[in-house]
Symmetry: C2
Subunit: 330 residues, 2 copies
């Protein structure tokens, strides 16, 4: 069951009026939860938490492999969210991992979105979508509010944030921003990702002698200008890989009002302690809310290194990351 109105009300900023935009919502929420940690959920259906999924899988006996796998992923991810929610601000769902389980995967995703929301967590739909305007609008309907049909209104996934790919241009980004802004949500546009191959295109020098990603950063700043709230933060944010901290200070110059989503912490080599340059030159709560640290495998797989049970190990690693990020933003 959705309870978006109640959820929004809980996130109202201190002045007591309605939330004006996502930048203000996230500032209030980071302050209240004292966390900038994003739990990345990208389940491998061949490797799930030992012991976490047995009951659910037994229940699904007789279903298709996709139904059985989706039930296992649902149980494993629910356990992971339950273990770490108190330390987190948000959950980021890697859509690819659910799509590969076909329709049952998409159903499991919807259940997990609602579960994360019940924990008071923001939901990030990490699909890195991008298409020509009419198709971008359809994606925005899928991930945010939904669409009117001849059979009635079909609700969307109900995400608070979606990652988008800006290669196709400003008119392809606009439908996502409009859909998000209209409901007090936000987007994160890819600017400089965390993979080694990011140098192939994103770092390509343009005619003005600057790398391409700086042009993408300017697009983020321009598109987000109309969505800057009282907090100083905008509803158009940027994905900046945590694996290249040297670029973060330059990115912050170009996007002073953007919330940064920083994936790549842990398994991909990024270190929270090196991310201080990612935070915006703002005061107090807005500064803390200006950069979100995302970790996936380092939390879910923490038990492999510690030898303790998965729940305790994930909780401990999430708390460690939460504290490290909070100190880096102080």
């Amino acid at each position: 069951m959705r309870s978006r109105h109640a959820y929004r009300a809980a996130c109202q900023p201190r002045r007591g009026r309605a939330v004006s935009g996502f930048g203000d919502t996230i500032t209030a929420l980071v302050s209240r939860r004292e966390s900038q940690l994003v739990l990345g959920i990208d389940p491998d259906p061949g490797v799930l938490w030992p012991g976490a999924v047995r009951d659910e899988q037994a229940e699904s006996g007789g279903g298709t492999p996709a139904e059985g796998a989706a039930a296992g992923v649902l149980a494993g991810c629910r356990a992971l969210i339950d273990a770490t929610a108190p330390a987190c601000l948000a959950v980021k769902f890697q859509l690819a991992c659910f799509e590969r389980l076909q329709a049952p995967g998409w159903s499991a995703l919807q259940t997990l979105v609602d579960h994360a929301r019940a924990h008071g967590l923001l939901v990030i739909a990490d699909g890195k979508r991008g298409d020509v305007p009419v198709s971008a609008l359809a994606y925005a309907q899928a991930l945010f509010d939904g669409v009117q049909t001849q059979a009635g209104f079909v609700h969307g996934l109900g995400a608070d944030l979606a990652t988008i790919n800006p290669l196709i241009g400003g008119d392809a980004v606009a439908p996502f921003v409009a859909a998000a802004r209209g409901r007090g949500s936000g987007v994160f546009a890819l600017v400089r990702t965390s993979n080694p191959g990011a140098s192939d295109v994103e770092d390509l020098l343009t005619a003005d002698g600057r790398p391409l990603w700086e042009r993408l950063a300017r697009m983020v700043a321009e598109t987000g200008a109309a969505g800057v709230g009282d907090s100083g933060l905008s509803d158009v944010g940027a994905v900046m890989g945590a694996t290249a901290p040297a670029l973060l200070m330059r990115a912050r110059e170009l996007m002073p009002h953007a919330v940064f989503l920083l994936p790549g912490v842990g398994a991909q080599g990024g270190k929270v302690e090196e991310l201080a340059g990612a935070f915006a030159p703002l005061q107090g709560p807005a500064r803390r809310a200006s950069a979100l640290v995302s970790a996936s495998r380092s939390i879910a797989d923490a038990y492999k290194a510690t030898g303790s049970d998965p729940v305790s190990a994930a909780r401990a690693e999430a708390e460690r990351l939460r504290t490290a990020a909070w100190e880096a933003s102080g």
Copy 2:
């Protein structure tokens, strides 16, 4: 029911041995069907063919709005495929339009993929996916073969081709190419799209004085070099908007072995007659197979202009486009 082995056998090239790669498969298929036409399917669940969906929607009475809408989309798209299949080579499904109907949308998509295949059509999953390597692999599993799970093997969508976004870099493209190549399928990487905003990023001049899309074209050529078949065509193709025919000759210089997917014909303003420059400097069947013309709304909505029934109007428009493309490639 899938019958991929029978399907592959039907596409064997003339020498009688197994298909070595997608370039040879498509060359044989274009020759056999005498068509380079791609039927674009991007259903608007608020506007479906009048009369085409009533029975299905009545059957779904009592379901959720998503189930009812998906049933309507399924019926409308099945009618559209049935009407136009003889004139077409392939069906291109815009994934966004199915995702916005959530899990029932994904189920409808799978049914339509199988339906298109039963007509002997190639299936293009148009999702423009792109992500860091581990997630790109998950997308490839979703769209192509599938994934092994603890509950058994979960089949993928079974597409023959997928559109991908290369912004994130070569290591993000590689998992798609490897998955496609391993099963005799292919990919289309975005190079220069059909929307007005394509000039924002894709046309940006790089330090060597050339537009960014030319760098993407070189990536396509380099990645596809190992996948060039006896036909001279590769399994790594390019999305080149049909709305900018002046760029097609330059694109062909840079990607002599790539199959071009040319969206934007009709509703977006592209004209088949202006696309002669898109075809590769190859002989006979391979030349004809080197560029595929994609049309969506101009086929599905043809009845609005002609006043005839939707089925007849769509069939006539598809035949007209098929003939025009065949002549342009002659």
